[in-house]
């Protein structure tokens, strides 16, 4: 691959020499840590000050030249410039002094000025630092051309950013600009780049730029290369080459072939991306619905408070996270209450999520026990009324969240190992999406083991099949009911712990999921745990595909709901109906 990047046409020798001149500079830039420690050299400061005070074409030239400095100060100043945060202050002797304002404001809102050329504060006649109102100062003018030059300079400087992601973005940006003068710079970068992703990006960017090369052979090679790379970013360029009248037949042929390759690649990436997102969406559905598959599916309680049990889990996670960091102020019912924080850092803090998962399960299970003992216990024979009673419970719980944690959504910080993503062949895989797939698998496995391999599971299944018969055989059905409900509620709490990682937590968190949960369980076939697994994954994938097709999550969702209604026409009792001989079964 490297070879093909470096393949050049005959006209490239001069540029090769050019890149030799750049090489030492870029080598320097390759040691950013070293460069950071150096104080800004007076030469850099002078060059900067000169660029700011210069006029017209000279100014643009000076600014462009700044790219070679690779200094943080230059980066900072250039970033501030287009935002009008760079000022010119007229000194008493008539000279113009470029300044930036210090971050700290004094009591009046005035800020001290830092001279760009020396780095010291701007002093008045008596030698004291002078303070200014930002509004009173004249900022340095910029026009369109200058702003573009500043941006280009910043992009060039970003090539040597210590963060590979930033380097990659800078490379891609430079590629999109399609300026032939960047090719040597990029190739020089390639020579010492160690990160595979960035190397690939450079190859792509060079090829994209070479599309503009006057030499037709170079151009065709670049077109072919982009096609082989399946470069999604260059699809538009390819399209414009095909549509352009100036294209010669050979180029046209190559471009068409490459475009087909790119389209195939995009289709492949979309396909796998959709499958992956569908699986993870399905896993989220599975995690939120599996608790309901126990309480509704097995026990027959139409638990409208399921969503609030999820929210209990999410809020528990929020509390645990805060306890691990700096503590939490709560004001339930007008009282003020402080939970002290452990102020942990590093991996100790990062591991909070493990504790939060356990705590969420336990809290939600306890709430479930209370619910079962005081409400549900009276309603096993009246399923439709359990719907109404649990809805009442859900109203009460929502308002309690509101009173304790406030009406506003709260944010739970994800541990580092759950945020971020990695890319395989242009398909982005988020860590949290991968986590939820594993999480769902573990939960299903544990539930299955509990129900089929333990004595408690045997009792649960016996009681759920026939309460009266089980009671006659001496099973303490009340306790089994209570434990089963607590288990289902605990699973809802687990779902909440996960949901707190992918979005904000608010009093109505559960309401967003309750309809989906019921749909998942009903489609899967009530009373069948594996039906729920299949239906969750199926609904998730179909939902994701429909979102792709319609280009809108809401339309996708509406279509899914309509599809489910139609599906139940075909199989009124879900995918896996529990077979029984009873007429009413």
């Amino acid at each position: 691959m490297t070879k093909s990047v470096l393949r050049r046409g005959p006209g490239r020798v001069r540029k090769g020499i050019f890149s030799l001149i750049f090489l030492p500079l870029l080598l320097l830039a390759g040691l950013p840590a070293f460069a950071d420690q150096q104080p800004e050299s007076p030469a850099t400061r002078q060059a900067l000050a000169k660029a700011i005070t210069a006029e017209g074409d000279q100014q643009i030239k000076d600014v462009t030249a700044l790219a070679d400095t690779h200094s943080d100060l230059v980066r900072k100043v250039l970033n501030a410039w287009p935002l009008d945060e760079l000022y010119i202050i007229d000194a008493p002797d008539g000279s113009k002094i470029p300044c930036m304002l210090d971050d700290a404001q004094d009591a009046d809102g005035k800020q001290k000025a830092i001279r760009i050329d020396t780095g010291a504060f701007l002093n008045d006649a008596s030698g004291k630092p002078q303070s200014f109102f930002a509004n009173d100062l004249t900022s340095v003018d910029t026009d369109m051309r200058l702003r573009r030059a500043i941006q280009d300079t910043l992009d060039l400087m970003a090539l040597s950013d210590p963060n590979p992601e930033a380097r990659k973005n800078a490379v891609m940006k430079l590629g999109m600009l399609q300026k032939l003068s960047y090719v040597p710079i990029l190739e020089a970068r390639l020579a010492k780049e160690t990160n595979g992703n960035v190397r690939a990006a450079i190859g792509e960017a060079v090829a994209t730029i070479e599309l503009k090369d006057p030499d037709s052979a170079v151009q065709i090679a670049a077109i072919q290369k982009l096609g082989e790379l399946g470069s999604m970013g260059s699809r538009d360029v390819m399209q414009s080459i095909i549509e352009s009248a100036k294209t010669n037949p050979a180029e046209m042929k190559a471009a068409k072939k490459s475009l087909a390759l790119i389209d195939a690649h995009i289709a492949r990436v979309n396909f796998f991306g959709t499958i992956f997102r569908g699986l993870s969406l399905g896993s989220i559905l599975l995690v939120v619905a599996i608790g309901l598959a126990i309480t509704f599916g097995l026990m027959g309680v139409i638990n409208m408070a399921h969503g609030e049990l999820i929210a209990v889990g999410a809020y528990t996670c929020y509390v645990v996270e805060n306890v691990f960091s700096s503590g939490l102020w709560l004001s339930p019912f007008g009282f003020s209450m402080h939970l002290p924080g452990l102020n942990l850092g590093g991996w100790m803090y990062q591991s909070y999520f493990v504790f939060a998962i356990i705590a969420s399960f336990i809290t939600a299970a306890l709430v479930g026990i209370v619910l079962e003992v005081f409400v549900i216990r009276f309603l096993y024979r009246r399923p439709l009324e359990s719907l109404l009673a649990t809805w009442g419970v859900s109203l009460i719980l929502q308002q309690l969240f509101h009173l304790v944690f406030g009406a506003a959504n709260v944010q739970v910080n994800s541990p580092a190992w759950l945020s971020g993503n990695f890319t395989i062949d242009d398909v982005t895989l988020g860590y949290n999406r991968i986590f939820v797939i594993g999480f769902a698998a573990v939960i299903v496995l544990c539930t299955w083991l509990l129900l089929t391999k333990t004595p408690l599971g045997l009792l649960i299944r016996a009681v759920m099949q026939n309460r009266n018969m089980a009671a006659c055989m001496g099973v303490r059905t009340e306790r089994v009911n209570m434990l089963t409900f607590a288990f289902g509620s605990g699973l809802a709490g687990l779902a909440g712990a996960f949901l707190s990682q992918i979005g904000n937590v608010g009093p109505s968190l559960g309401q967003n999921y309750i309809v989906d949960c019921f749909m998942t369980v009903v489609v899967g076939g009530v009373g069948n745990l594996f039906g729920t697994v299949y239906s969750a994954l199926g609904i998730g994938t179909v939902d994701e595909i429909l979102q792709q097709v319609f280009g809108s999550p809401v339309v996708g969702k509406i279509t899914v709901l309509v599809c489910i209604i139609l599906f139940l026409q075909w199989r009124p009792s879900g995918l896996f109906a529990t077979k029984g001989r009873g007429l009413e079964g």
Binding site: G300, I302, M304, V375, F378, L379, Y380, R381, R382, P383, L384, E385, L387, L388, A389, W391, G392, V393, S394, L395, I396, Q398, Q399, L400, H402, L403, Q511, V515, F518, M519, V522, V526, G527, V554, V555, K557, I558, L561, V562, I564, I565, L566, L568, Q569, W570, P572, S573, T578, G580, G582, L583, E584, G585
Partner: protein, 387 residues
């Protein structure tokens, strides 16, 4: 359960409707504002709204209490009716809107210069009224036909109606169906040439709501006495026996479902000019559940119950949202729990129980037949259906 109505009850119905339809509007119109007999425009408007809620509650009860179909989508039909009437009212604003254009403001905002075709006929009042009945009726027919044909019943029916409502709610939140999106319709000015902001028009709408409620009440009362009403209750108690006796239960259920939807839609159409706004949150799943609460609190399986429940809950709501805004949902939820667990037949059941107790005390020495068991009804909603 007593099915005939005694003279005393007829008298009570007559008296209550006379007060609601004649006395209250007169007190509003003909007494001086400072008199202690005066009923303010605000109160009148509020009660107009309660009557619309009462009508919805009756339809929920006709489905749930009498046919055993717990629909969690009744507010969808209510809101659809309201939207149809809202479209007419939007057209009647004319060019008095913010943008002074001949088309509704939100369409101007979305960049339309001409009226979309499906909006055009809504300038015509009879057409709008016809749509109030037709569109929800059609939706109910299609949904009901599909659901009842494949014998979806019990809990499944409830959950499916909830899904339907949720889907419709999501749909109406979108701007591109040109129904006002998030904000819905508001800022109405005229209806049939009358100014909606005047006290007289509001009084007229109040009387219309009250009369409509009375008609629905009497009509449903008649309906439950016919053979159809008997089949309906038989379906509630044991649908399979009805099927084995040769009745097409699905057709009966479909008829009741469509009828209930149309009536709810009409209540919605009366509701919207009184509150002056309709938006998608009116068709959210929680609104339909709230309507079910009214029925449960009032007492299902009776026709008076839902009306009492709707008015009772809403009066309580109006009061407590002002007095204890933070605790209202806890009140509502708590009340609901208590009613479901301890009063399965609601306030009406409680009153009947009181009357029975009173009779018992008066004729203490004689042994009385036991009062009808509250469990009898609820057991009929088949527990096996959830298996």
């Amino acid at each position: 359960m007593k099915r005939e109505t005694s003279t005393l009850q007829w008298l009570a119905v007559f008296l209550v409707s006379f007060i609601a339809i004649v006395v209250v509007p007169c007190l509003n119109a003909f007494t001086p504002e400072l008199s202690s007999y005066h009923i303010s425009n605000f109160t009148l408007n509020l009660w107009g709204k309660y009557f619309c809620y009462g009508t919805v509650a009756i339809t929920v009860d006709l489905l749930w209490g009498y046919t055993g179909l717990l629909s969690l989508g009744q507010c969808l039909f209510f809101a659809l009716g309201a939207y149809m009437m809202g479209m007419y009212l939007m057209r009647m604003i004319g060019n008095l809107g913010q943008y002074h254009q001949p088309i509704p403001d939100f369409l101007v905002f979305l960049g339309w210069t001409r009226l979309p075709p499906f909006w055009r006929p809504f300038s015509n009042f009879p057409f709008a009224v016809a749509m109030v009945a037709l569109l929800p009726g059609l939706l109910a027919f299609v949904f009901g036909f599909l659901a009842f044909r494949s014998r979806i019943r019990g809990v499944y029916f409830s959950i499916l109606t909830q899904a339907l409502t949720y889907a419709a709610c999501l749909l109406f939140f979108r701007n591109d169906i040109l129904m006002g999106g998030n904000n819905g319709f508001t800022d109405f000015k005229f209806m049939l040439g009358y100014d909606l902001r005047s006290a007289g028009t509001q009084r007229g709408l109040y009387v219309a709501s009250a009369i409509f409620l009375l008609i629905v009440y009497l009509g449903f009362k008649q309906l439950t006495l016919t053979r159809l009403g008997k089949v309906q209750r038989a379906i509630r108690d044991s649908e399979n026996r009805v099927l084995f006796s040769g009745y097409a239960a699905a057709n009966y259920k479909l008829f009741i479902f469509v009828l209930a939807s149309i009536v709810a839609a009409m209540a919605g159409a009366l509701y919207v000019p009184q509150v002056g706004i309709i938006n998608p949150s009116e068709m959210g799943t929680d609104r339909s559940l709230e309507a079910v609460v009214w029925v449960a609190v009032g007492g299902r399986g009776t026709l008076v119950g839902p009306i009492i429940g709707a008015i009772f809950v809403n009066v309580l709501k109006s009061w407590s949202t002002r007095a204890y805004p933070d605790y209202w949902p806890i009140f509502l939820g708590g009340m609901f729990l208590l009613v479901v667990i301890f009063l399965p037949r609601g306030l009406v059941g409680l009153a009947e129980h009181g009357v029975n107790l009173f009779k018992k005390m008066r004729s203490a020495p004689e042994p009385e037949p036991a009062p009808p068991s509250p469990e009898a009804d609820s057991a009929a909603v088949n527990p096996a259906a959830v298996k």
